[in-house]
């Protein structure tokens, strides 16, 4: 029932000898700030794919969290069957997820792109249920864990502790966001995607192969969430419904940042991570989730297009 893949003994980067109750207010604040940002980085890396899919295809991918789960299982199986370090495994998982995205887009998304929103919503929700239950059927509900030697390692800078695997995930998130942004700004396909996200009909009239853009954007979004999954694998247990824990905050991040905006998704992720951490630290952890849902509500009322969204982007065209 317990399935855990391990790789030898586990040295920590530094021997984290705990020191009880020595947290001064400033250190405490800085520590919470840092861990909030790191946690926000995780939300950001899950959100960039979601925002891309929404921005270009105007499709809310309710199965986003479940694609995350799929990539985590892929990482796990590579590790447990072939002893491939998850970070190295990314080289296999990300292209595989891209291919998976192509498959799903062609079979499921393409036929319903012109359909009413209700149909699209149900299609992605149905996909979500299929993915979760397929995983449950194939892999059972048991928790899988990938125990890399550095999973527990902690960096210490000043008096501030940073979890190594979180730092790596954060760096990957920022790099992926920057690369994606550059891609969207500078490459032809990227510009085509932006054009399609602004006005698909006009883009078609300009000679852009909108169908191809949809395919690439969707698959790229799935590949990105696959990347996220790889870097979450050393941190979290893997089970069929783990996607939900990340998908829900990801939706909030994407709306907060502006649907379709990559910098927005990053800023949204960092904001949510910070808000969660600060609320939990100063008000109590029972308010952790409530705080960011409250922000979500406020944003929807005051500025529904989020930080960087285009006015009207949140409304169906």
């Amino acid at each position: 029932m317990a399935v855990v893949a391990t790789m030898g003994p586990e040295p920590a980067l530094l021997s984290a000898r705990p020191i009880a109750g020595d947290v001064k207010p400033v250190t405490g604040f800085l520590q919470v700030l840092v861990s909030g940002l790191l946690s926000g980085g995780i939300y950001a890396v899950v959100s960039v794919g979601l925002t891309l899919i929404f921005g270009v295809l105007k499709l809310v991918n309710f199965a986003h969290g479940d694609f995350l789960m799929v990539s985590m299982y892929m990482s796990f199986w590579l590790y447990s069957a072939l002893s491939v370090n998850p970070y190295v495994g990314a080289l296999f998982v990300v292209p595989l997820m891209f291919a998976f995205g192509v498959l799903i887009q062609r079979i499921l998304m393409k036929p319903i792109l012109e359909a009413p929103h209700v149909v699209q919503i149900f299609a992605t929700m149905g996909l979500s249920m299929i993915l979760q239950n397929a995983a449950l059927l194939l892999f059972k509900a048991d928790f899988r864990n990938v125990r890399v030697p550095f999973a527990a390692s902690v960096l210490q800078i000043g008096g501030i502790r940073l979890s190594l695997v979180h730092v790596v995930a954060f760096l990957v998130a920022m790099t992926a966001a920057v690369v994606l942004y550059a891609f969207l700004q500078s490459t032809d396909m990227g510009k085509a995607m932006r054009a399609v996200s602004m006005n698909a009909r006009a883009a078609k009239l300009m000679g852009i192969n909108v169908d191809r853009v949809y395919l690439v954007a969707y698959s790229l979004g799935i590949a990105l969430v696959g990347l996220a999954g790889v870097f979450l694998t050393p941190i979290y247990p893997i089970y069929p419904t783990i996607g939900l824990n990340f998908a829900n905050p990801a939706f909030v991040c994407v709306v907060l940042g502006g649907l379709g905006s990559v910098p927005g998704a990053v800023l949204g992720g960092l904001t949510i991570g910070l808000v969660e951490a600060m609320t939990a630290y100063y008000a109590g952890s029972q308010f952790q989730q409530a705080a960011y849902f409250l922000i979500f509500l406020v944003v929807l009322v005051i500025r529904p297009y989020g930080f960087f969204g285009r006015k009207g982007a949140e409304v169906a065209q």
Binding site: M1, A20, G28, R161, P249, G284
Partner: protein, 400 residues
């Protein structure tokens, strides 16, 4: 008049003396928790086999009328079916609290007894139902046990008077965690323990670092934590990452007794205490009759179903069912629900194979059902408290 009546009813009894007595069973035999539900049913069934072998209920063999409740909606409809179509007057259930709550609503309004062997939600006995009895412990009892083991054994191990220990309560915020903590707070007040913090968090949280940092500010000596396996490991991992040092951790069931906990935590699991129902109690510590019964049950189970250890679900349901079939129904004399209720209220069984005594309070709760405390060491969980059932002493405190 009375004489005639009793002669007539005596005659009726004799005529019916070999007629089977029907008892319903309602467990999730299919669906998500089919495995545990099936184990539960098997426990009940072996109790039936043992009692029938010994002559049944006053000479009448017990016959099960089985129903499958994969969801709580099914529990309600199947309870209805058992009652109206099968004429069942007493039902053994439920494994999950959801099923128990759904089924009990149906049984109560029909005046049928629900014999609850395994659902632990406090809610179940809080509805004022007259026809419901629960043989196992409740969530809140685990909280109480947590405080008792701290006051009793942990304080002694740490060489600190119990009243001077700073205790923090940390729980996942569903009714499971909340019930345990409610019990803990109640007991802590009685024992004069110092609760310095109570933090609830959502079990779907992806990050508990702020919670850990908040606890660091309070610097508790002991933490009583309730969570499921994913948040329990997240919490304990982050506690280590952020340098939250405590002298002892007492986990309230589920996550902390899960085999995965030791697998994920490795060395960090050593010394962690965890509360759960008593399972696989060393039968030589029981009375001679219970030893015989325990050994018989276990060998019958393993013979019929294989494996090398009897699962907890089977054991707890066996214990509850055996009490019903062996102690309550014979005293009731029939399957008349009111007679069963009267008989149940009157029983006082000093010991069962799980070590529990059986005596029901006015809400139908067995006050003798108490959880026990285990401790992790080198990947194994051993029963360490209360001393009566302990196989080892508590060790490894304070935690390193």
């Amino acid at each position: 008049m009375l004489l005639v009546g009793s002669i007539l009813s005596g005659c009726a009894k004799n005529q019916a003396s070999s007629e089977p007595i029907k008892v319903g069973t309602l467990f999730p035999r299919s669906g998500n928790i089919a495995m545990l539900g099936e184990q539960a049913w098997r426990g009940a069934d072996i109790a039936r086999q043992i009692v029938n072998e010994a002559g049944g209920v006053n000479g009448r063999p017990i016959e099960f009328v089985d129903a499958d409740a994969p969801t709580s909606q099914a529990a309600a409809t199947e309870a209805e079916r058992l009652i109206s179509q099968q004429g069942v007057k007493v039902i053994i259930g439920s494994l999950t609290s959801g099923n128990a709550l759904a089924a009990s609503a149906v049984t109560e309004r029909n005046g049928v007894v629900l014999w609850e062997t395994s659902g632990i939600s406090d809610e179940i006995t809080k509805k004022g139902y007259q026809y419901l009895f629960r043989t196992c412990d409740r969530g809140s009892d685990r909280g109480r046990a947590g405080m008792r083991v701290i006051a009793d054994a942990v304080a002694a191990q740490l060489n600190i008077p119990a009243s001077q220990l700073k205790i923090a309560l940390v729980n996942e915020d569903s009714s499971y965690g909340e019930a345990q903590v409610a019990g803990a707070k109640e007991e802590a007040a009685k024992l004069g323990l110092n609760i310095v913090a109570q933090e609830a968090y959502s079990s779907s949280a992806t990050d508990l670092s702020a919670l850990v940092l908040r606890l660091k500010n309070v610097a508790p000596d002991v933490i009583f934590a309730v969570g499921y396996i994913n948040d329990a490991t997240l919490f304990w991992n982050q506690a280590h990452q952020y340098g939250l040092s405590v002298k002892a951790l007492v986990g309230g069931g589920a996550g902390y007794t899960d085999p995965q906990f030791a697998v994920v935590e490795g060395k960090n699991a050593d010394g962690v205490l965890a509360i759960d129902m008593p399972t696989g109690i060393d039968s030589s510590k029981l009375s001679p009759e219970n030893k015989e019964l325990a050994d018989k049950f276990r060998s019958m189970y393993l013979e019929q179903y294989g494996g090398d250890k009897v699962p907890l679900s089977a054991e707890v349901v066996f214990t509850g069912t055996y009490t019903l079939l062996h102690d309550v129904l014979p005293a009731a004399g029939s399957d008349d629900p009111d007679k069963i209720v009267a008989a149940a209220k009157a029983i006082d069984v000093p010991e069962t194979i799980m070590g529990w005594s059986v005596k029901f309070d006015e809400t139908g709760q067995n006050t003798g059902a108490q959880p026990v405390v285990y401790q992790w060491m080198n990947g194994t969980l051993s029963l360490v408290w209360p001393e009566k059932w302990a196989t080892k002493a508590i060790e490894g405190l304070p935690l390193q």
